[in-house]
């Protein structure tokens, strides 16, 4: 039995090592100079902060990081605000049409982004939303809002109906029933929804590629642009990537308990 245990441990250690190698590559390369990466091979390592300095002095990257934060936060806020209300309404008021709406929303989570990118491009150009941070936030809401609704449905459904009845007897209006009773009770779900919405927006690349421009580009676009036309700036690219990974890893390790739920509600974007 003892032997079987250590065999498991060794196998898993190998697997984890394989999974972590590329992440290690990004982080170690961020402490190298661009030129050392392609001139001295993968095993030369003399840590320096030169690439970090270069990236932080790059005003493009600072702007993009700010844009990424604004887009992710505002799309998250809008999605959580409207989404939690809708989710509450769909679960609490039993109309025939609600079943249909739930079905529709669950399906809408899955629209491929490229299908929406084409009409967005043309519509945004007509509306003057192209190359604006707000336009990107609107585009991100197209996947975040149905996702938030879907994720919150079981949370709201699991809150006992008695709370609502008691509140109504005490003369509570429908909106304050939602805001004062259900919103706080569903708080764990709402935090998970907010976190995943933020992550999906933070990781998003296709809409940013198609709909943004010099003013509104987000961090993934600038990180990719470090590849450049002439020489790939791998060191600076790795710095950008490492910075992008910090919130991602902080969130995943902090919210482990809820990750399965988040993922099986479709919280996954290519």
């Amino acid at each position: 039995m003892k032997k079987a245990k250590s065999l498991r441990l060794i196998l898993c250690l190998i697997l984890v090592a394989i999974e972590l190698v590329p992440i290690g590559v990004v982080i170690t390369n961020s402490f190298k100079r661009d030129i050392d990466i392609w001139a001295r091979g993968p095993f030369y390592f003399k840590p320096t902060l030169k690439s970090y300095r270069a990236v932080f002095e790059n005003s493009d990257f600072r702007l993009a990081l700010k844009n990424s934060l604004i887009v992710a936060t505002s799309s998250m806020a809008v999605s959580v605000f409207f989404g939690s209300m809708a989710s509450f309404g769909l679960v609490r008021f039993r109309f025939r049409i609600n079943t249909f709406l739930i079905f529709l929303i669950l399906m809408l989570r899955m629209i491929p982004q490229i299908t929406l990118a084409l009409p967005f491009y043309i519509l945004f150009r007509n509306l003057g939303l192209k190359d604006t941070v707000m336009g990107l936030a609107v585009a991100h809401t197209s996947f975040n809002l149905p996702y938030v609704i879907a994720l919150l449905l079981p949370f709201f459904a699991s809150i006992p109906k008695e709370y609502e009845e008691a509140a109504r007897v005490d003369g509570c209006k429908p909106f304050s029933i939602y805001w004062r009773i259900f919103f706080p009770l569903a708080a764990p779900g709402i935090v998970v929804a907010a976190v995943f919405a933020f992550l999906m927006s933070w990781n998003e690349f296709l809409y940013a590629l198609v709909l943004s421009g010099p003013r509104s580009k987000t961090a993934p676009i600038v990180v990719n642009a470090f590849l450049g036309q002439y020489a790939p700036l791998w060191g600076q690219l790795s710095v950008g990537a490492t910075i992008m990974l910090i919130p991602v890893f902080a969130i995943t390790l902090g919210f482990q308990k809820y990750i399965i739920r988040g993922l099986s509600s479709g919280g996954l974007k290519g």
Partner: protein, 280 residues
């Protein structure tokens, strides 16, 4: 009404664009708005169907899914079995395995590109040392597709693992104990008890991965941009290229309507198998 505001937003950001895209697919609209678009009936659709490159990228898309997803499921399942019994460090290792799933697709693609650079990439040097190289992995039509699939497997088998492990740990333990007492061997228990009980969970995981694979874009875009010589031109990249490189928006819309139909059919099925019980 509580649902109404969200419905308006959803209509504006998803349903209306889809309808607009459908409309575009019946016109001759180009990326640059040169003249008022004309209605052209089904000709975009018939052009898509007669485009060799479309069938090529459809074939790539299907083989991508046919290679990546079963392998991810297989590895994920085996590793979930490894974690069935506790061993030292198992909680820590389990949480470390989650990290690749959440790594930004762009970062994952770029990292693989770096690792595969001939001359200075870590993976390329590793392949050299086991005398598989030197090769320009991403510039070679034979290997580019394989590396794109490998990248996906590396990133996504932990997803399968997590879903299956969650299903496994919520199984009632009486079944397994009873079988053990009856003298069933480990593999007998796996095949006759664990596997059938986990079928619904695995179906859900596979469907989620299939729908996700239909959206794959950024990893491949930054690794190869569909090249070399269209060897990694998966369906979303094909559509992107038609629209934003060649300006054929209407044509690309027709192709994307096809992609949308497949996605919606799969998610219809997914919603039916997995969410019926949860909602009602």
């Amino acid at each position: 009404m509580f649902v109404f505001p969200a419905l308006i937003v959803i209509f504006a950001v998803s349903i209306y664009p889809v309808i607009f895209s459908l409309y575009l697919s019946f016109t001759d609209r180009t990326l640059l708005y040169l003249r008022a678009p004309k209605f052209v009936g089904f000709s975009n659709y018939s052009n898509v169907v007669s485009d060799k490159l479309f069938w090529h990228s459809l074939k790539l898309q299907l083989s991508f899914m046919a290679f990546a997803i079963p392998l991810e499921l297989f590895v994920g399942f085996l590793v979930a079995l490894l974690f069935l019994k506790d061993f030292p460090l198992c909680r820590l290792l389990r949480s470390l395995l989650m990290l690749p799933v959440f790594i930004l697709p762009v970062v994952s693609g770029l990292t693989w590109r770096l690792m595969l650079q001939p001359g200075y990439g870590l993976l390329a040097s590793f392949f050299n040392s086991i005398s598989l190289g030197p090769k320009a992995w991403l510039a070679d039509t034979k290997y580019a597709f394989v590396t794109v699939v490998l990248q996906d497997i590396w990133r996504m088998w932990p997803f399968m693992f997590m879903i299956i492990y969650a299903g496994l740990s919520s199984l009632p333990s009486e079944y397994l104990e009873a079988a053990q007492i009856d003298g069933a061997k480990f593999w007998q228990r796996v095949f006759h008890i664990i596997f059938p009980l986990l079928r619904p969970v695995m179906t859900m995981a596979v469907l989620l991965r299939m729908i996700d694979a239909l959206r794959i874009f950024s990893e491949v875009y930054v690794m190869t941009y569909g090249g070399p010589a269209n060897a990694t031109l998966l369906l979303p990249l094909y559509i992107h290229k038609q629209a934003f490189e060649f300006g054929k928006v209407a044509y690309a819309s027709a192709a994307s309507v096809f992609l949308l139909a497949v996605s919606l059919a799969l998610s219809f099925y997914l919603v039916r198998v997995s969410f019926r019980g949860e909602v009602s």
